[in-house]
């Protein structure tokens, strides 16, 4: 005789399967062992894989995907304050971006009253950027969020602020950003 099925048998089986699919997806797509497995399968089947290098799975990949600085700023004529140093760093990163990738940072700067010419000026740019970063810091609550907002936009900064613990630093903020939301986090 076939034993009677337990209550909600069908619903429980479907939910178990859905949960399993989510776990397996997360494990395969977002962990280094998953990347290793996908890489091995791709090699065996001679197919393409979107698996990233293993170290890129740490800290949102900010240390692995940071772009090389090819155009440094001229050396400052006087010692920089902490705020101006932040502006100088942002200016270098902005200067090294391709024109298409500057859209979001320039839009954020325009919102804070700094136009494109001022932002990209090799001498006065760092000072203008540090003023904009101060305004962004006041708006978002921390320097780390201000830098994230500058390079990734308002939406990413708000999302990171919502998801990360209070007083989170930049690596933690970048870590909570889902893939596809902003690929300029390493610049911040």
């Amino acid at each position: 005789m076939i034993p009677p099925r337990p209550r909600f048998f069908g619903v429980r089986r479907v939910l178990d399967f859905a949960a399993a699919v989510l776990c397996i997806w997360a494990g395969l797509a977002h962990t280094p062992p998953g990347a290793l497995l996908r890489f091995t399968i791709a090699r065996l089947t001679n197919t393409h894989t979107s698996a990233r290098p293993l170290f890129a799975y740490y800290t949102g990949g900010i240390y692995e995907s940071a772009p090389a600085i090819t155009k440094p700023l001229p050396p400052p004529v006087h010692a920089l304050s902490a705020q101006d140093a932040l502006g100088a760093g942002a200016a270098i990163a902005l200067d090294n971006l391709e024109a298409a990738q500057r859209t979001v940072p320039l839009a954020m700067l325009a919102r804070e009253g700094v136009n494109e010419r001022e932002a990209l000026d090799p001498h006065a740019g760092p000072h203008h950027l540090s003023i904009a970063i101060t305004r962004l810091r006041d708006r978002y609550g921390s320097e780390d969020l201000a830098m994230l907002a500058l390079f990734c936009g308002d939406e990413s900064a708000r999302y990171a602020k919502e998801q990360a613990p209070a007083n989170a630093e930049l690596p933690q903020l970048v870590r909570v950003l889902p893939r596809g939301l902003c690929d300029r986090g390493p610049l911040a």
Binding site: R13, V14, L15, D16, H30, P32, P165, P178
Partner: protein, 245 residues
């Protein structure tokens, strides 16, 4: 019941029946994957700690060698690139080791009809005949698995936000992501996560008999490696407050 409802119910039962026959494969896989996600979340936290340690060690080294003209060039010996490489390599080693000793055994999960009775028996045996493995392995696996549930919730919530923000706006997509995240948390916790605890307890139980001095202390070295990960999983990777954010 209408014929349509009847046929719908039949189809649903059919699907449920097929999934029931496949459980032996996907449930252990999901358990291993869930632990792997949690281990990664914990290793990602440890990575920051390792980097901070490397920074401090480098600062001490720089302070020491910069005292003399002769050794001053050694200040540039280790830069940020090397320190981040070291931190990531160490974190990756911890992660792969933890996957090997905690996630991989999950594939041996064999579902029983009365899991609660099995859990009760295992817990009773662990209480009466404690060994290091019986006492530590299941709580460590549970901590890592909890971080895995939080990690999966965050990934689902984030992906929904990215996919839906153009359709519903940032506020709408964030709200949908948040609700979906809570549902995902609840479904994974009640379907998969608790089985991880049972399997870890069962794995430890099987390696704790016969009870000799050797089996009592078996797993000491892996436990020492797993404890920092469990700490990171519980106190840094699992954000309860993020459930409502």
């Amino acid at each position: 019941m209408s014929p349509a409802q009847a046929s719908g119910g039949g189809f649903f039962d059919g699907v449920a029946g097929i999934l029931d026959k496949l459980r032996w494969a996907f449930v252990p896989l999901a358990m291993a994957a869930l632990v792997a996600v949690g281990v990664h979340a914990a290793a990602d936290v440890l990575d920051d700690q390792f980097l901070a340690l490397a920074d401090r060690a480098d600062a001490i080294f720089d302070g020491f060698v910069s005292r003399w003209e002769l050794t001053r060039p050694l200040v540039d010996l280790v830069d940020l690139e090397e320190r981040t490489w070291f931190a990531r390599a160490l974190a990756l080693s911890f992660e792969l080791f933890a996957d090997l000793v905690v996630a991989l055994p999950m594939l041996g999960y064999d579902e029983k009809l009365d899991e609660w009775r099995r859990l009760k028996e295992l817990l009773q045996r662990a209480g009466k005949r404690p060994t290091l493995l019986r006492v530590t392995r299941a709580p460590i696996a549970l901590a890592l698995c909890l971080a895995g549930v939080f990690g999966t919730r965050r990934l689902v919530s984030g992906q929904l936000f990215v996919s839906l923000r153009h359709l519903f706006g940032a506020g709408g997509a964030s709200g949908i992501g948040r609700i979906a995240g809570i549902l995902v948390f609840a479904v994974i916790a009640t379907s998969i996560a608790w089985r991880v605890f049972i399997r870890a307890l069962e794995y430890a139980d099987a390696r704790s008999e016969p009870r000799t001095p050797r089996t009592i202390l078996a797993g000491l070295v892996p436990t020492l490696f797993l404890l920092p990960l469990a700490w990171a999983a519980i106190f840094r990777a699992a954000h309860w407050s993020a459930l409502w954010r």
